[in-house]
């Protein structure tokens, strides 16, 4: 489970990449890909296996001037969904 204290990382073989043709970021995984909107992209850019979910949320809340508890809940939901799909590990 992803919690506020998790230090999430991309799973092996998963890459965050800018897709020139579609002018958007995309997460590439074994035989799969996930198209990303801007908020998802901003979260994944901070996923490095070191930062905690809390730290990621603090960073986003400060930069986007948004309520931290709302951001934290969104980050947990988004990363837990990717974890269940095998793209992120906690």
């Amino acid at each position: 489970m992803i919690t506020a204290q998790s230090q999430p990382a991309l799973s092996r073989g998963v890459k965050l990449r800018f897709d020139q043709a579609r002018e958007a970021w995309v997460l590439l995984a074994p035989e799969r890909m996930f198209a990303l909107d801007q908020p998802s992209t901003e979260i994944l850019k901070l996923v490095d296996g070191e930062r905690t979910v809390e730290a990621i949320s603090d960073d986003l809340a400060a930069r986007f001037n948004a309520p931290r508890d709302v951001i934290l809940a969104d980050v947990v939901t988004f990363l837990e969904d990717l974890r269940q799909k095998g793209a992120v590990r906690s």
Binding site: R12, G13, K15, A21, L28, P30, E31, K85, G86
Partner: protein
């Protein structure tokens, strides 16, 4: 209007393969080595694919490791920023060969198994000693730190051992497992009577997968492909004709799916003569069944026409004789009786033919 670019390229490097699986999706007329694209042709295709907007390449076959230039092609794919998947039987995957592929930048390997039980696996694949080579290959892949997908094609002859297959996939450390019921094209269609499972087998396999998913959670993700003959609605074959995928045959034909060469009255362009962009955007072959305007009834007015895109053209051809008809799997198709007949004709003692070149070399 220019269509959205493809997301993935299926590079069928060769039809050569040491295995003889009776469900192989390759066409019955296997391409000879002398007709295959050159290394430079493939490098150009990979560059053009990346330029066009393709994000992933699947190196497949036949056995892609039968191509001596595979490492060069993987390196080239990495150099143009394509994510590379290697789809292999593993019987040629030595530790040294794997080290070269890793150094060249392969991102992920899908390793196929014919069964969990050695004798059955080697009878199906037609190669003695294959199972141990696959088990070794899985170990090398994991030791190299690459993500491993294990793939099991299931059918009437092996589906009753699905639990053992899942246990094997877990034991090998697969992050992902594909459990794919056979699809009936190419050799699979030829051997359909021996391969189609019973309804009880299908229902049991679905229950086994569901239970395993609950037990395993994210520790091993299982992708499950059902045999569409038992479905009420057709699959969205290739996510729709000319929408996501482009398949290149060993001889360089650009196809919307790997079975498309069976379709009559369609000429598939060669990557030797045209760029991928020209082929994708404006070839007749890719335009013919793209979107919904080609559809006859009942698809034309169906509320699901942009969900399943009319199902599979090759299946419509194979079972009704007309590629333009609705996929006969659909319960709204007037040809559903063709599916009913196939289900009635499958049996335990049906003979099957191993995949092999049909024309003398």
């Amino acid at each position: 209007m220019t269509p959205a670019p493809p997301l993935a390229l299926l590079a069928e490097l060769t039809h050569r393969c040491p295995l003889k699986c009776p469900y192989c999706s390759n066409p019955l007329e296997l391409e000879r080595a002398s007709a295959e694209l050159s290394t430079d042709d493939w490098k150009r295709v990979l560059s053009e694919a990346a330029e066009l907007g393709v994000l992933q390449v699947h190196f497949s076959g036949g056995e892609p490791m039968a191509r001596r230039d595979l490492v060069q092609l993987v390196r080239h794919a990495a150099s143009v920023d394509l994510y590379s998947n290697l789809i292999t039987s593993g019987v040629m995957l030595t530790e040294a060969a794997l080290a070269e592929l890793v150094e060249a930048g392969v991102d992920h390997i899908q390793l196929s198994f014919q069964d969990a039980e050695v004798e059955s696996a080697e009878r199906l694949g037609g190669l003695r000693g294959a199972q141990q080579k696959k088990l070794d290959a899985a170990r090398f892949i994991r030791a190299a730190g690459l993500p491993l997908t294990t793939n099991f094609v299931i059918h009437r002859q092996n589906v009753d051992r699905l639990e053992q297959m899942i246990a094997l996939a877990e034991q090998l450390g697969s992050a992902r497992m594909e459990v794919a019921h056979t699809q009936y094209y190419g050799w699979g269609l030829l051997n359909r009577d021996a391969l189609l499972p019973t309804r009880e087998q299908l229902e049991r396999s679905t229950a086994v997968v569901e239970a395993a998913r609950v037990r395993l959670g994210a520790s091993m993700v299982i992708d499950y492909v059902v045999p569409d003959y038992y479905a009420a609605r057709p699959k969205a074959c290739m996510s729709g004709w000319g929408r996501r995928f482009m398949n290149i045959s060993p001889a360089g034909k650009a196809l919307p799916c790997h079975a498309a060469e069976t379709l009559p009255n369609l000429t598939f362009p060669s990557v030797r003569e045209q760029s991928l962009r020209q082929i994708w955007n404006s070839s007749e072959a890719f335009e013919t069944f793209r979107g919904t305007s080609w559809m006859p009834d009942p698809c034309r007015t169906c509320d699901l026409r942009e969900v399943d895109w009319g199902g599979c053209r090759c299946q419509a051809l194979a079972l009704t004789g007309d590629a333009r008809r609705a996929d006969p799997v659909c319960e709204r198709s007037p040809d559903r009786h063709a599916i009913t007949a196939a289900l009635g004709s499958a049996r335990d003692n049906a003979a099957w033919a191993p995949r092999q070149p049909r024309t003398p070399a």
